[in-house]
């Protein structure tokens, strides 16, 4: 039964992909929303009734589905987040392309693929073994490639999609290794088998899992693929950053944390990577002027914080921050899309839509404040929890976490003020203006902002006890100084954000370098270019050198044949010819002896006798 949770959206995706162009865009959005509502209902049923699923390919290869705590949280969150996003997509993207009442083929494809994305992600969080996980893991990647290439007509877009796919697939290789290591040690592929591993095999499995999770979660050094992913339309980014794809990494870590932490280098590595990404992502967000890229950097940073929580031994906290972050980040992307529709670009310096779209600006302020970590929003609570978790390991870790929190306050403020602040000049007509957002688009944003607001309940002690029971994982105890320091840094971050956005700034060389992930994209492109050049060089080598052996053999054969044709044949012809001439000459000589004169014969006989006697004499003497 658990299969329905993944297969139903996949089925809906196929149907909408094939038949969606016959629907109006409203119909398309409605159909997709219905599919997601049913999926959500199924997820609810699955969680309450503890569904299972299995499908045996062979004795060794068995696909299993099971619900875990992390899986349940994800299975419920994913369709809930996707719901407003597909509605938004139906009105934001489909209408844009056609101008007709009917949805276009591209629109149907986009909606279908978004649903497929959801289905693949559901499969991923329900997987009970590494084979199923790997299947879903790669499917999510393929969906993201197809979604990012949505506007394939522009030459740059497919290139970016390929880059995003390849970077994440490099991480997928880690899962291949992990699955193989588990099989090598136990003969099975189940998560339970991972716990039975030890020694080198366990280390390799954990390393593989970490590689896969880091690439998907856009942690260092893979963070910049999210920039490439920005070539996709806004709803794709919204889904990809909140509940699918990027979320896969943190899901896997929090799902397997108890086993993974058996390796002694796991915790320091995860905390180190997470903190580095959180701080670096914060710096990137502080300087980035592309609305979606700013949000992308913030995604890396926020997932970095979740990594810290897992590394510190509190995967439940990571799950809570995931939920809070998912709703706010989806909302922010939708808001960025609405602002872009007004100005025609994602350049934050030209946006400032506050006076034109005050309602949208207000709705955006909620997720922005949540991202900044302002009390009493839910994301603020989960961030404080992460700081508390880090504090369990060491006080300086907590300091670094709250510093990263201060940076999020900074870039959240920048985003809000630049995208939806008041215009700098009094003359807003200078800027081009797009159509006002439809009710569906703003509704989707308001829904996400509303859920973000609702999550403020997390501050209520009653909700906290309920959470601690619902998640059978403990929550860390915070210390007062952490909270105070954190709040101070948030205030400071907001203040700096205000200052940075008071006027248009030209970025210094250092700042623009920092704003593009400190040159990481160039490194990745360098690696890709290196592989391509190596391929070309090998191709030439193959044509000129490897094949030369063959051509050489052929030429040698021809040369040999020609030599034979001339010298060999002459020799072969010459030997019998020589023999003929020799016998001819001998015959002539013998004929001369037959003269017919008797004295010649007598002389011959006597000569013969002398020779015979001589021989006999020699024989007797010897």
């Amino acid at each position: 039964m658990l299969w329905t949770l993944a297969l139903f959206p996949l089925l809906g995706a196929t149907l909408l992909y094939l038949g969606g162009r016959h629907l109006s865009r409203g119909g398309l959005a409605l159909a997709a929303a219905l599919v997601l509502l049913v999926t959500l209902g199924l997820a609810g049923l699955a969680v309450t009734n503890d569904w299972q699923g299995g499908h045996a390919w062979s004795e060794t290869l068995v696909l299993t589905l099971e619900l875990s705590t992390a899986g349940s949280v994800f299975a419920l969150t994913i369709p809930l987040i996707a719901l407003p996003i597909v509605v938004y997509a139906g009105y934001h993207e489909v209408a844009l392309r056609t101008g007709y009442r009917r949805g276009s083929r591209q629109g149907a494809r986009l909606i279908g693929l978004l649903l497929g994305f959801v289905g693949a992600m559901q499969l991923l969080v329900l997987a009970g073994d590494f084979l199923t996980l790997l299947i879903a893991w790669e499917l999510v990647g393929a969906c993201s490639w197809a979604l990012i290439s949505h506007k394939w007509g522009q030459a740059e877009v497919p290139k970016e999609a390929v880059q995003a796919f390849l970077v994440t697939r490099f991480g997928d290789l880690g899962l291949y290794i992990a699955a193989a290591a588990v099989f090598a040690g136990t003969g099975g592929f189940g998560y339970a088998d991972l716990a039975a591993l030890d020694g080198d095999l366990l280390s390799m499995a954990v390393a593989g899992i970490l590689l896969a999770a880091a690439a998907k979660s856009a942690q260092l050094p893979f963070s910049s693929w999210l920039f490439a992913a920005m070539a996709g339309p806004v709803p794709v980014s919204a889904l990809l950053h909140s509940a699918t794809m990027v979320a896969a990494g943190i899901y896997l870590l929090s799902r397997l944390q108890p086993v993974l932490s058996a390796v002694d280098w796991f915790a320091p590595l995860v905390i180190g990577l997470g903190l580095a990404t959180a701080l670096a992502g914060g710096v990137v967000g502080a300087f980035q002027d592309h609305a979606k890229k700013l949000l992308a950097a913030s995604t890396s940073a926020q997932y970095g914080l979740m990594w810290v929580a897992v590394g510190a031994g509190f995967p439940g906290v990571a799950l809570l921050h995931f939920v809070a972050h998912a709703f706010l980040k989806a909302g922010l992307f939708l808001a960025a899309g609405l602002a872009e529709r007004q100005t025609g670009s994602y350049d934050l310096r030209d946006m400032r839509q506050g006076s034109r779209l005050p309602g949208i600006a207000l709705a955006t302020a909620v997720p922005s404040l949540a991202l900044a970590g302002v009390i009493p929003l839910g994301a603020a609570w989960s961030k404080e929890q992460i700081a508390a978790a880090a504090g369990h390991q060491a006080a300086w870790l907590a300091v670094l976490v709250v510093l990263a929190g201060g940076l999020s306050a900074l870039y959240a403020t920048r985003f809000q003020l630049l995208a939806y602040g008041r215009p700098l000049r009094r003359d807003p007509t200078m800027l081009p203006q797009g159509p006002r957002p439809s009710r569906a688009e703003s509704g989707a944003l308001v829904f996400l902002a509303g859920v973000t607001l609702l999550l403020s309940l997390a501050w209520w002690p009653g909700a906290q006890t309920w959470l601690a029971e619902a998640l059978p994982r403990q929550l860390p105890e915070g210390k007062p100084w952490e909270l105070i320091l954190s709040l101070a840094l948030v205030v400071l971050g907001i203040a700096v954000g205000f200052i940075l956005t008071r006027r248009r700034r030209r970025l210094s060389a250092w700042e623009s370098w920092a704003s593009t992930w400190f040159g990481l994209p160039a490194v990745i492109q360098g690696v890709a270019m290196g592989a391509l050049l190596l391929g070309r060089a090998l191709a030439r080598f193959d044509d000129r050198v490897v094949d030369a052996g063959l051509r050489g053999t052929a030429r040698f054969g021809q040369w040999l044949a020609r030599r034979h044709a001339r010298e060999g044949e002459a020799f072969a012809e010459g030997v019998p010819g020589m023999a003929t001439r020799l016998s001819e000459w001998g015959g002539r000589w013998a004929r001369q002896a037959q003269s017919g004169q008797t004295h010649h014969y007598y002389a011959g006989i006597s000569l013969g006798l002398v020779v015979i006697f001589a021989i006999l004499l020699i024989g007797a003497l010897l």
């Binding site: 083929r105 999609a161 391929g535």
Partner: protein, 495 residues
Amino acid sequence: MILTVAWIVPLLGAVALAAFPRWSEARARLWAAVMAALSLLALVVAWVGFDPAGPLFQHVDELQWVPSIGVAYRVGVDGIALAVATMSALLFVAAIVYPVDTLGQPRQYYAWLLFLQAVSLGVFLTLDLLLFYVFFDLTLVGMFFLIGRWGHGTPQVSALKFFLYTFAGSLLLLLAIIGLYLSIEPHSFDMRVLIERQPLAGTGLYAGLVFLALMLGFAIKTPLVPLHTWLPQAHVDAPGPASAILAGVLLKMGTYGMIRLPFAMMQETFAEYSLTIAIVALVAILYGALVALGQSNLKRRIAYTSINHMGYTVLGIAVAAAFFADNQAARQLALTGATVEMVAHGLITGALFLICGSFWQRTGDYELDHYGGLAHRAPLLTGFTVLAAFASLGMPGLAGFVAEFQVFAGTFAVYPWLAVLGVLGILITAALFLDMLRRLFFGRLPSHLGGFSELKRAEWGVLGVLSLGILVIGVAPQFLLTLIEASSALLVGVR
């Protein structure tokens, strides 16, 4: 009987095409398609009748022929042979149905295809070493004429290169077969006897030489780096369906031969050299993928991916042959994976080469740089190419993944570092296929492609069937895995 039917029917069909000179193109094609389909049907019947719990070889027929030297007409299949043969028959039907310009000689074209089908199936179905050799060589003849007469570019040169190179491999094979034949008393060409008695076990240098000759012969056919250079040229100049057969069926004879002869008959010797073979396979995987990435010609690029994929197969076989490793489950997984790779690669690369044929029929051009933006003009063509490309790069849910996953998992348990390096191959493959898709279908449509037409019904029908096969194996491969595991279990000694 059923196996005999499977390979005789296409042969009779070919003879009939040669005998009736007045048949029109449509009639010749229909006849050929029906004959090929009957052969496929016979193999499906054999599949249904195959007992996974039964002996290694089933459906065995034996007829004395030259008893004085131990030659007999012997046919029979294990699960591996049956899976590969059925895939081949399906691919032949697809190649025959796929529309192609027969240059005014339709009868001859379809007759040669049917002839090639008969002898190709013969290779997979026979249990007699001498017959195996005869069929093995006759496939060269069929392919030689298909490339030489219906190819483009410099078809005669390519056909000659293909023939001579692979024929040289066959000669080594012949020597090795004689070596095997002489090693057993009474002398016999019966594969079952050779597999059971393992006559060369413990004979040192003699076994080593026979093994070397066998592996060289099969490595040329497979092909393994550096014995592969006949392949790209033959592919580029061959007509699309012939390319599909060449990659989908003929290459399999190399790897199938490795499983049937050295792997099954010389276990001890193969185990000794398994690491060497595995390293060669790893080189083929990485080298094939990188060289494919460096190609700017559509067909050459796909041709080189075949080298990469056959590398996975050989890697799986080499791992399965590592009899000293006590992890039998892993070795069985590797062998099963290698066989699934053969079937999957046949379908996937078959589809890709047929697609190449469609490109050639429309533009006469394989240069990737001359294309772009076709997704809008030819959505069906785009869809099928995307599916085949993703299958080839090992996307789960499609056939290639089932194969490669098993090969990697099995390899890791025996040679961990080879597996770690080998997975890089799927990353490079992903890069080269996505790059190919981007250059063919995305971006701007160049002006000279304004008249590019969508797939015709016959084309998308065939591609649809192949894609369905790829999808079914990817999602529910039980039917295939049960068949193959029945034999792989016996061959690695689990059962």
